[in-house]
């Protein structure tokens, strides 16, 4: 009678693997304080989960009475999250050692946050959605305030915590109202129930509050005010983790809600208008404010706001191509942003000054550290959207979907915003390669040895961007197949 439980457990096995490894890491850390084998264990768990998800890529299933989707789009999003987590774990080890905060708990928290993100991306009901979102957020609050002696880190953590919890309140109220309007927590039943019941004010309010919660988590304008402060104060490699994996998970969940839970005419109507306006404003505001930044970390924070806008453009299209394009964009964005923050972390030169890393301090660093210079070039070109890198393909996919959906103006705004963004991305490269080394402060010019693991991860990220950019065919097909018209109608 309860046999299905075993089959269902197998379907969420990757999440369970990551959770079990996280618990093992906590136990290991309790008995061997900050043991050097912890990052290895964490990395192995993430790789194992990544491989397990890979098997499910073309095998969409429902588990636990529809509470969880496994495989298919969820597997794709989970693989993106795991990729970001893996890169962050490896890059964090030398960085945290340098700033003297290489605790074993960091890796446990990254793993637990990953569990939350995977749950969020596989959510099949409002309950799973909430639990995943909060598991992720609470871990990220702690990671933000990791360097607890530093005022900047305290401030980021407090801001992130208060604003995050505030937005959780709205998100939760949205869930409650949606539940009240439809009488169910399951996405699959929700879309059926809405076909027959009339849409009351409660329902509209619920959708609006839920969207506000999501837009906050992906830091879209006008809910972006926390992003620069939080990204600036957090440890750099963990900023990379936060800005990519958590965004990927939240966007994947938003895609699932739009494609599977809300009625089609609403998504094509009011929701589309809202999302396209938000996307346009986010792209413009993110890029324009980034132009004025002199702190590289803060500049990348505003750039990540702008990228949320590009992805929202794909979501606003509301078609299978748009959703699939957004998924592909998330993959490319995760790889390039983890890499970019990894380079910044390696070049961060002083514990006190790290928090206010000025662009001038990078002067001439391309010659001193050619590997960092070259890989940073790849990441920045990809972020700008130059062919033949993955960033270009991602932008092409989301903008093409927007044009197909009749939102040509949105695509035009997006392309113009990308042109603006080229200015500040390339400025970093110009400083790194063309400015004389003497422009940088004395302390920034100390020679240092690059950790082998950092070199390997950064090179792999750059290589992956190139491969995804040159032959993205299979990945695009996979991403877009999940949300074909037929696949959605079939309730999967």
């Amino acid at each position: 009678m309860y046999d299905f439980l075993l089959a269902d457990t197998a379907r969420v096995l990757p999440i369970l693997v990551v959770a079990a490894v996280g618990i093992a890491v906590i136990l290991l850390d309790a008995f061997r304080n900050d043991s050097p084998s912890i990052p290895w264990l964490a990395g192995a768990g993430l790789v194992a989960a990544f491989v397990l998800e890979g098997f499910k890529l073309y095998d969409p299933q429902v588990a636990f009475f529809g509470q969880v989707y496994s495989g298919g789009a969820a597997a794709f999003a989970n693989m993106v999250v795991l990729l970001g987590a893996l890169g962050s774990v490896v890059l964090s080890v030398p960085y945290l050692k340098r700033i003297g905060h290489n605790y074993g708990e960091v890796h446990a928290l990254i793993l637990f946050a990953t569990v939350g993100m995977m749950t969020l991306a596989s959510a099949g009901s409002l309950i799973t959605l909430f639990v995943g979102l909060e598991t992720m957020s609470v871990c990220l609050y702690v990671l933000t305030g990791l360097v607890r002696e530093e005022k900047g880190a305290n401030e980021s953590a407090l801001k992130y915590f208060l604003l995050g919890a505030f937005s959780t309140g709205f998100f939760l109220y949205g869930i409650a109202l949606l539940y009240g309007a439809t009488g169910t927590m399951l996405f699959s039943e929700m879309v059926e129930g809405l076909a027959v019941t009339e849409r009351t004010g409660i329902f509209v309010g619920g959708v609006a509050l839920l969207l506000i919660g999501f837009l906050f988590k992906v830091s879209a304008v006008p809910f972006h005010m926390w992003t620069p402060d939080v990204y600036q104060g957090a440890p750099t490699t963990l900023t990379g983790f936060m800005s990519t994996a958590s965004k990927a998970a939240a966007f994947a969940a938003l895609v699932v809600v739009l494609a599977r839970a809300l009625p089609v005419d609403l998504v094509a109507g009011e929701v589309q208008i809202t999302l396209s306006v938000v996307a346009a404003v986010t792209m413009v505001v993110g890029n324009v404010i980034a132009l004025a930044q002199t702190n590289v970390k803060r500049m990348l924070a505003y750039s990540s706001i702008a990228h949320a806008g590009y992805i929202l453009a794909g979501l606003a299209a509301g078609t299978g191509e748009g959703y699939g394009g957004a998924l592909f964009y998330l993959l490319a964005y995760t790889v390039m942003n983890v890499g970019a923050f990894g380079v910044l972390a390696a070049l961060e030169w002083d514990k006190e000054q790290g928090a206010i890393q000025d662009i001038e301090s990078l002067a001439g660093s391309g010659y001193r550290q050619p590997i960092l210079g070259v890989t940073m070039g790849v990441f920045l070109f990809a972020l700008t959207g130059f062919p033949p890198l993955a960033g270009f393909i991602g932008k092409y996919l989301v903008f093409a979907a927007a044009v197909d959906a009749g939102l040509t103006w949105l695509a035009v705004v997006g392309v113009l915003a990308s042109v603006v963004s080229a200015y500040y991305y390339l400025r970093i490269l110009v400083v790194m390669w063309m400015k004389p080394e003497t422009d940088a402060p004395e302390a920034a010019r100390q020679p240092f040895a690059l950790a082998t693991s950092t070199t390997v991860v950064l090179s792999l990220c750059a290589l992956l961007l190139l491969i995804l950019g040159v032959m993205p065919g299979g990945v695009i097909e996979a991403a877009q197949s999940y949300f074909d018209a037929g696949a959605i109608v079939a309730g999967r």
Partner: protein, 125 residues
């Protein structure tokens, strides 16, 4: 519907009246002889040695935080305990499965506790 609450209102009024009456009565009836000893914080007891408004040690917060987490997690045991009877009746190892699930839940909590003890979260000094 509002009439259902009339007894409650009467009760509240009675309680309020009784409390106020007693307060006033002891002022009227009791002798009032203020003095130095009478006015001390602990009459005919120890003399106070310092201000009572001290900042609490940070350790209280640590214990409070740990307490909150472990305390609230127990809320999940209630629905489990209530529905355990149904699993027993269902037979076919369902009860064992339910027991295993709650065992796993408690195991995770215990891991947290072990971590806490090992890291010195419960050491007072």
């Amino acid at each position: 519907m509002i009439t259902d609450f009339v007894p409650l209102f009467i009760m509240i009024l009675l309680a309020l009246g009784l409390a106020l009456t007693l307060l006033k009565l002891q002022q009227w009836l009791g002798p009032y002889q203020p003095g130095k000893i009478k006015g001390s914080p602990y009459e005919s007891g120890q003399d106070p040695v310092g201000s009572a408004r001290e900042r609490y040690s940070i350790k209280f917060y640590l214990v409070a935080m740990i307490f909150i987490v472990f305390d609230v997690e127990l809320v999940f045991l209630y629905p489990w305990a209530v529905s355990f009877g149904e699993f027993l009746q269902a037979g076919g190892g369902a009860a064992l499965g339910a027991l295993a699930v709650v065992g796993l839940f408690l195991f995770i909590l215990v891991v947290g506790l072990i971590y806490d003890i090992k890291k010195g979260g419960l050491d007072w000094d």
